[in-house]
């Protein structure tokens, strides 16, 4: 309990300046989360120059709060506008946005905020009290296990498709092929560049995401003359947004799964919030109590991914503090800042610098709570965005999309690609190909390739490693189960499809 006492003491010792930094960091994180393309990694990076002049505590506090709040902010725009501020919020489009279109935007936001709170708190407990065992788990994962995890994430696409599984699959492979453009990370070979410098730089999934979702949404809405939307009349009457204890209890399964997945994915270097969010969604769809409703505006589809996303934050600090390996890109930036302050995290830090650990824990704890409060306070005013005439919202989405794609690498090539993907998204819509698998493929495809090839090089092209290693074997078992379940569902659906075609499509 030394840790707890230390954290409480640290929080009590915060002066006005530090509290101001906490609030500022939270607001900044939310803002960055809201803007598509400005990822929370960039948010933390943005703070970095300012932290040179601060002491270690102050810089840690501000960066940690930006990071925490950054994993939540994007939920707001994903749910209300179908614009994912961050890649990990893509799953929130499917249920969160649907809820919002039904006039349940406030509930969806409430669930998102609550899940973020729970995810943040539980993973905080893991960091505070179980960092060592978690770090050991992280070390027992190699590229073999990563590959199977990514495979699980990719398979969630099958779960996503309520239309044709074949079409979803084609879309997924298309996304994975897109991601092979540019220099590959294993052999350094230039692939599918067709001699164009735009393509040589590669296709980043953030560009794909902004193009097909954010810009694609603008194009679709514009084409429909911004008409036929039910949401604008709804939100006034809503009173409560926070789910009550009974509702919480009912959804505890989704929360628990999300938190566990998030904590694990955060600890494992190379996975992170996005993979965690997708895997959590897939689990809700396959095994959740409300799996039938997931994909059709169910809170479970918001809870799992959001709890997982925020749970990755505290757990990303586990390998960083215990092993000196940052669990995510944002954690890497924070590690860099610590190095600049002559603090070297690593195996000894829990013993040699407990105050530092307490500061990080305190900042995380306060950050999570502040994020929740700010999330609640902003939910209602945010819903008013829906009252603004749509063309005005649309034009700003375009401006943010431009900046988002450009800011990725300060390159106009990415902006052009983004526009091209908006066009591709529109075409796919026209021919009835689902878009989400494309994005999922673009996000997870490169990871799948890298982990697969690394495993193969490491084990002399022996495919059996995926089943003979204990953890990867167990995960492979889960994967087989998921595939079998999806296969069964698809089979059932195809039999009922003839009689009642539209039943499953009312999403």
């Amino acid at each position: 309990m030394d840790t707890l006492a230390g954290v409480v003491q640290t929080i009590l010792s915060f002066d006005v300046t530090l509290w101001a930094l906490l609030v500022l960091g939270t607001l900044l994180g939310l803002l960055i989360g809201v803007l598509p393309g400005l990822t929370f990694v960039m948010g933390v990076l943005l703070i970095l120059p300012f932290t040179y002049g601060m002491d270690v505590d102050a810089s840690l506090i501000v960066m940690v709060t930006v990071y925490v709040a950054g994993t939540y902010g994007g939920a707001i725009t994903a749910i209300l506008l179908r614009v994912p501020g961050e890649p990990n919020h893509v799953p929130l489009l499917w249920d969160g946005y649907t809820m919002s279109r039904r006039g349940q935007g406030a509930q969806a936001l409430g669930w998102a905020a609550t899940s973020a709170l729970v995810g943040g708190l539980v993973s905080w407990l893991f960091l505070a009290f179980a960092a060592q065992p978690f770090a050991q788990i992280a070390l027992s994962f190699s590229s073999v296990e990563y590959f199977v995890i990514v495979l699980l994430g990719l398979t969630s696409v099958l779960a996503l498709s309520q239309g044709s599984v074949l079409k979803a699959f084609i879309s997924l492979i298309g996304g994975m092929l897109l991601a092979t453009v540019g220099v590959d990370s294993v052999y350094g070979e230039l692939r599918f560049d067709f001699g164009s410098p735009v393509l040589q730089s590669g296709v980043d999934w953030i560009v794909v995401m902004i193009g097909v979702y954010s810009l694609g949404e603008v194009v679709t809405r514009f084409a429909n003359r911004f008409g036929g939307d039910a949401t604008t009349q709804q939100p006034e009457r809503i009173r409560t947004v926070v789910p009550g204890p009974k509702a919480l209890w009912e959804r505890s399964g989704s929360l628990g799964r999300g938190v566990l997945i998030g904590s694990l994915m955060g600890t494992v270097p190379g996975a992170g919030a996005t993979v965690g969010s997708f895997v959590a969604y897939g689990l809700e769809r396959q095994f959740g109590k409300y799996r039938r409703d997931v994909g059709n505006g169910s809170p479970a589809g918001v809870i799992g991914p959001q709890a997982a996303s925020t749970a990755t934050v505290a757990s990303a600090f586990i390998p960083m503090l215990v092993l000196g390996i940052p669990g995510s890109a944002s954690a890497a930036v924070i590690l860099g800042a610590l190095l600049l302050h002559d603090v070297q995290p690593g195996p000894d830090i829990f013993r040699t610098q407990p105050e530092l650990i307490h500061t990080i824990l305190a900042a995380l704890l306060v950050g999570v709570v502040l994020m929740f409060v700010a999330g609640l306070l902003t939910a209602k005013p945010m819903i008013r965005i829906l009252k603004v005439p749509e063309p005005y919202v649309a034009v700003f989405i375009v401006l943010f999309s431009f900046i988002g794609a450009f800011a990725l690498r300060n390159s106009m090539a990415d902006v052009w690609l983004m526009v091209a993907f908006a066009g591709l998204g529109t075409l796919m819509n026209r021919f009835g190909f689902p878009i989400s698998p494309l994005v999922l493929g673009a996000i997870l495809g490169p990871l799948a390739e890298r982990f697969f090839l690394t495993s193969m090089i490491s084990y002399a092209n022996d495919l059996t490693v995926f089943v003979t290693r204990p953890i990867s074997g167990a995960l492979m078992g889960v994967w087989v189960l998921v595939v079998a379940l999806v296969g069964l569902q698809a089979f059932r659906r195809s039999r009922t499809a003839i009689t009642s075609r539209h039943e499953g499509d009312a999403r």
Binding site: I173, Y187, V395, F402, I403, N429, P434, A506
Partner: protein
């Protein structure tokens, strides 16, 4: 339309057959396009370095994907063809509603207006390169709102200018992002404005 192919072998009734072939071609347009893409990409992989003899090499993964893509597309062609022959429509084809994402239950978009929207964005990006981010952004806001049927020119212009200035300040000064400043006289103008509002 679908039964005709079984009753009239192709070529017997020329005008009907030709029209029918055209319809069939249109039905299979996305699949044909996908197969062409798969073929082109496969040919590209031949140029990749082979790597060490024991390596799978950089071509392995894309080829795996291309084969999967081709197989799925062919399966899709089979599915469609079966549906056409049995006289029904393909259950997986979009009708009035788009059959895409969960959460997207909007009516199928008007193609011409979608094209206008994309072209206006293309115009914005092009303008950003030559006229600079500042001018392009202001112009795009005004233009897009006008195209969207918002005709309050004064409000729109004020909004456009304010947005361009705020965004430039925010992204050039606070978060450093080097958005293009245009060429020639536009560059001079942009830099002048930047200096005026204290970005440079």
């Amino acid at each position: 339309m679908t039964d005709s192919s079984t009753r009239h072998p192709v070529g017997l009734d020329t005008s009907h057959g030709a029209r029918h072939r055209l319809t069939t071609l249109r039905t299979f347009l996305p699949e044909i396009a996908l197969l062409v893409v798969a073929a082109v990409l496969w040919l590209q992989t031949a140029w990749f370095r082979a790597g060490q003899p024991q390596d799978l090499g950089p071509a392995f993964w894309p080829r795996l994907l291309i084969v999967l893509l081709a197989v799925c597309t062919l399966a899709r062609v089979g599915q469609k063809a079966r549906a056409l022959r049995s006289g029904g429509t393909d259950p997986d084809e979009p009708r009035s509603e788009s059959d895409s994402d969960p959460g997207n239950d909007e009516p199928a978009a008007d193609g011409r207006r979608a094209a206008i929207a994309i072209l206006s964005i293309v115009g914005y990006v092009t303008a950003a390169i030559y006229l600079g981010y500042l001018i392009a952004t202001a112009a795009f806001v005004v233009g897009f709102l006008l195209l969207s049927g918002r005709r309050r020119t004064v409000l729109n212009t004020a909004l456009g200018v304010a947005a361009a200035l705020t965004f430039s300040f925010l992204f050039l000064k606070v978060v450093y992002i080097s958005v293009p400043s245009g060429v020639g006289i536009f560059d001079t103008f942009t830099v002048g404005v930047y200096e005026l509002i204290g970005i440079y």
